[in-house]
Symmetry: C2
Subunit: 369 residues, 2 copies
Amino acid sequence: MMNPIYYNLPTKIFMEKNCVQNHSEIFPQLGHKAMLVTGRHSAKANGSQNDILAILKKHHIEYTLFDEIDSNPDIEIVYKGARKARAEHVEFIIAIGGGSPMDAGKAIALLARQDIAKADLFTANYTSDVLPMVHIPTTAGTGSEVTQYAILSNPRAQTKTSIATNVLFPNYALLDPSYMLDLPRKITIHTALDALSHLIEASLSKKNNDLNNALSLEGIKAIRPALSVLQKNTPLSEKDRESLSYASLLGGIVIAHAGTNIVHALGYSLTYFRHIDHGRANALLLHRYLEFIEASAPQKIRVILNALELKTLDDFRMLMDSLLNEKENFTLDELKKYSKIALQAKNTSNSIATPNGDTVLQLYKQSLL
Amino acid sequence: MMNPIYYNLPTKIFMEKNCVQNHSEIFPQLGHKAMLVTGRHSAKANGSQNDILAILKKHHIEYTLFDEIDSNPDIEIVYKGARKARAEHVEFIIAIGGGSPMDAGKAIALLARQDIAKADLFTANYTSDVLPMVHIPTTAGTGSEVTQYAILSNPRAQTKTSIATNVLFPNYALLDPSYMLDLPRKITIHTALDALSHLIEASLSKKNNDLNNALSLEGIKAIRPALSVLQKNTPLSEKDRESLSYASLLGGIVIAHAGTNIVHALGYSLTYFRHIDHGRANALLLHRYLEFIEASAPQKIRVILNALELKTLDDFRMLMDSLLNEKENFTLDELKKYSKIALQAKNTSNSIATPNGDTVLQLYKQSLL
């Protein structure tokens, strides 16, 4: 029999050029005062922040700017944002940027309405009382605009941990691939590989189902031509940017339903301790993870390779290597430490083949030594 | 560039064996008094009504039974249901059955909360104030459990017309394919062909997009093995019932986003005037519709045929003929009358190739004379 199908995607999605302008009627429905949650630079550089400010002005919506979100935001910054949102009587959140501002925006939307102690942030009984949210991705990788996850650096556990609750699905996701036209090549590659990792991990998750799997394969097929362009040093077209956004959106939808698994669990330490970009961290581990799965579920790997128009996992390794360039060095001691942390992560057990402590260390060693 | 992607599927979907029992916690969240909207017989025969009554008892939820929904419900019956819902202070709707009770359930949920004159039913400015709804399909075809449409017989326009508004998405869709195990073969065929028609028409709609198209093709692939079983006289397995439910669900999702088009517009007259089952009516017209589209978009037809594992449209015609058996007779005068009505339907213009009056009559004549 099929796996049960559980499907819940409350976020309203609009993806097209000039998306913010074409759907500006949604903003006045959400309140009279917005908080823009974003990073320090990119939303200003790519035009998205100005587009939003023009819409807010047009609809006489007040706003406050909270543009302090750095990469891999931690607990402190979202509590700071929530205090500001409360003090300024913010009625809804507009999060603009990559995964960091979008995830921070969700946590702020939650903490602006609910009193949750820092120690309980990842495990509290969240109520449905959160500020409404509009999420506007300006990278193509995280898919946060259509998930219920807010992932934050968690010093207590020395890793990144996710707040996972259905109340954190944004109300609206507005995707305009043209915000990504000037995104640097390296960020484009690393975020694209994050999307690829979502699509692959969801398809190899215990919680996967046929509907979700169809969307994973659609996303893998959609991202393939753009990966080929990224392998060469040719510029990306508007169509490539569109394909990457579309694949990232699908990656978000599928992890919303099936979750990530081992690759994300292992990748977090590379980001937490060595500040390696999140998508790159995943990509460093993907090939050996697929080898691990192939041992027990070769047909599932075959389907993924077909969608990527690749013949063998060795072809997959070469694709990753050509996108990752020179790799970082690690010591065995580092990897032993990361292994202990990864085994604590709840998504480790979400893979259709679950690793034990030896396998986790083995995956790290094969991938990184 | 891609078509814009607009995606909105607020219905929470659960599909599995024992679905009603496994998710019974949703019912007390929706209110203290339910109205069961269903037909006279099938929900009693297939066990779904008893399952629901047991759950309501367990959760101390009162109910009133409105089991007067015949095939192709008209305006009068939903106003009657709404009066009863108001009089008995019903707080939510549980619709059980095929498309007729599920669509009637939506209209009752609307009319129980909003005063809408009969003449304005299909065109009113609906507010978001509707009773919450749980939809439980006991056929695999309509997909109504995941759409915003309530289709009713409309004597004024001499056809079936749809109330189409996002407020009519059910809150929950609970699909248990085992309710369909004893469904008669003829109903199984006709409803399956309705699902097939949804999947095909959505993929040939102007409003189609890549995400929707991926789900259409997934549905077409999923329904194919069951259609082969239905061609022979062998019994359907649980797995076949599951595939049909899954394809029907996907058909609902894709028409929620891309709508139906010419086939449904033309089929309604066959049901309205000649009482031909809705799915059968569509299937009688599908082959010639695909020929009409092939003239301007052969690649789209190729993709559909590939998903059906068929080589040519002639193979498609043979597949339909083997499922439809002996066909009804029509006169040219009837078809001329139907053509005029079909040209008024808003979904006629939703096809990627739009027919004029001559083409519509031609489609009818080729299909039915």
